[in-house]
Amino acid sequence: MRRKGYGMAEPARDDADLVTRAAAGDIGAFESLVRAHADAVYAHAYRFFGDAQAAQDATQEVWVKVFRSLEGFGSRAAFTTWLFRVTRNVCLDMLRSGRRAATPIDPVELHGIANDDTAGEAVGAVDLETAMRALSPEDREAFNAVALFGLPYAEAGSVLGVPAGTVKSRVFRARRALTTLLSLDAKGGA
């Protein structure tokens, strides 16, 4: 079952219609796709590079690639699965070409998180994003595929080249690490 990702304004069922219209030249439909999914693309790139400017460049490049390839996309896969694949490839290509480098995590930042004594509801995006960078790349991208893009484990696995069971393990490991790093346990959760 396909779920709604974190940043998705509308459920995925509208995507097929928007893709069809956008491929036929409806720029408004394409803009709706961008607005529905730009946050997921940006968040993945931001977590990949740890840098806002690189994430912006990657986000633009992803959508330009998507626009150029819409007609060839057809309906052979769910749009979000394809979008995650394009996003992942663009980030990897930017890294390989040396145009951008991933920002390594500073252990001091993690220490700061672990000793954060703010109230649970005050845990914000900055802390979460710092904690994200402490995850292994494999766990992080599996988590992003599922949590940001709303991909089922099997589809995430098809993009990542691993079985669904491996995605399940990686996502669980990411969640365990994040709840620990963000001290959600100590703060009593919601």
Binding site: E31, D39, E61, E71, G98, L182
Partner: protein, 341 residues
């Protein structure tokens, strides 16, 4: 953590993602949570984690994306003329067996061009009907008068040379004697940006520019490279190193339009002129070539050319302020949707 806790939390994580879980596993996890505070907390933490804010794409990124996409769409539309010609040729051949192929031909990227070709045909039909009903087409070629001045083919001519019906336009501000350090690439105008510290990021050639840069020598062909940025810039190696050259643009209707030159700007300080397909206006109101149409994002008056939708190009009158993208160009300028080199 005990093995049962790990299994339970993995099941809870999968359930949180709406993944299929066996009834037995779900029952075992629920039973475990009844007796395990740690796993109950993990279950609630899943909700907290899912509700934390994630990074959001800044609005300007979405705007940039749509500008880039509009430029690609415009690029596709530019295929119309050549594809339209091919189509006419094909129809003239009249081979019935080709019809089946046409359906195939109309798919893919050619659909964009075909849509544009249909639009052009529709305009032609309207023109035919108007002429057929006796309405004279406005501003035929014989009406046009080209006045050459020292400012080049696109120069503004004194208002006295035209009919008194032309509305008065603000007097152009004095133009600076020298244009910015422009160069032209594929007929489009670029201005220098920052120097590249790492030249290895721009190694893919996209063509050549002919320029003498700021020197007094003859212009020479210089390789232009694809920019590592996606803003339409190019990279050109000059006397001071590899430098980004950014497209000279202005915004109209949320789309970025680039300055197009009819002349090759082969030396810094030379003004871009109107594309040669346009006759120089003989009046400050743009006539007979252009018609006042509206304003761009800066509130500067835009002018349309006959038969060219404003979304595909517009003119700007001479004498804009030096802060304007046209930089006080003393001649009329022409702007088309930004293309990625």
């Amino acid at each position: 953590m005990e093995m049962d806790c790990i299994r339970t939390q993995a099941t809870l994580s999968a359930l949180h993602d709406s993944e299929p879980v066996t009834e037995e596993s779900a029952r075992a996890a629920a039973a475990h949570c009844d007796d395990c505070a740690q796993c109950r907390t993990f279950a609630s933490d899943l909700g907290v984690l899912g509700a934390l804010p994630m990074p959001k794409a800044p609005p300007e990124v979405i705007a940039r994306i749509m500008v880039a996409v509009a430029a690609i769409a415009a690029e596709r539309a530019q295929e119309v003329e050549s594809v339209g010609a091919l189509e006419t040729e094909s129809v003239a051949a009249g081979a019935g067996e080709r019809q089946a192929l046409h359906f195939e031909w109309f798919t893919g990227t050619r659909r964009w061009a075909a849509i544009g070709a249909i639009g052009v045909a529709a305009v032609a039909l309207v023109m035919f009907v108007l002429i057929g009903t006796g309405r004279p087409p406005a501003n035929t070629a014989s009406d046009r008068v080209t006045v050459a001045t020292s400012q080049g083919a696109g120069s503004l001519v004194a208002p006295e040379a035209t009919t008194g019906a032309a509305p008065a336009a603000p007097a152009p501000t004095p133009a600076p004697a020298r244009a910015p350090d422009y160069l032209t690439f594929k007929g489009r105008v670029y201005a220098p940006g920052s120097l590249l510290a790492d030249t290895s990021v721009a190694t893919q050639s996209v063509g050549t520019v002919s320029t003498a840069f700021g020197g007094a020598g003859s212009p020479t062909p210089v390789t232009a490279y694809r920019s590592p940025l996606t803003d339409g810039s190019i990279v050109v190696k000059g006397p001071d190193g590899s430098r980004l050259y950014e497209p000279v643009t202005r915004m109209f209707s949320s789309v970025k339009y680039q300055l197009v030159a009819g002349n090759a700007v082969e030396r810094f300080g030379v003004w871009p002129e109107l594309p040669t397909r346009f006759q120089a206006p003989t009046s400050p109101d743009g006539s007979p070539t252009f018609t006042a149409a509206g304003g761009d994002a800066l509130g500067v008056q835009t002018y349309t050319a006959k038969g060219v939708p404003q979304t595909q190009g517009f003119a700007i009158a001479p004498g804009t302020p030096s802060s304007d993208p046209a930089a006080s160009n003393p001649t009329w300028t022409w702007w088309e949707p930004l293309l990625m080199p």
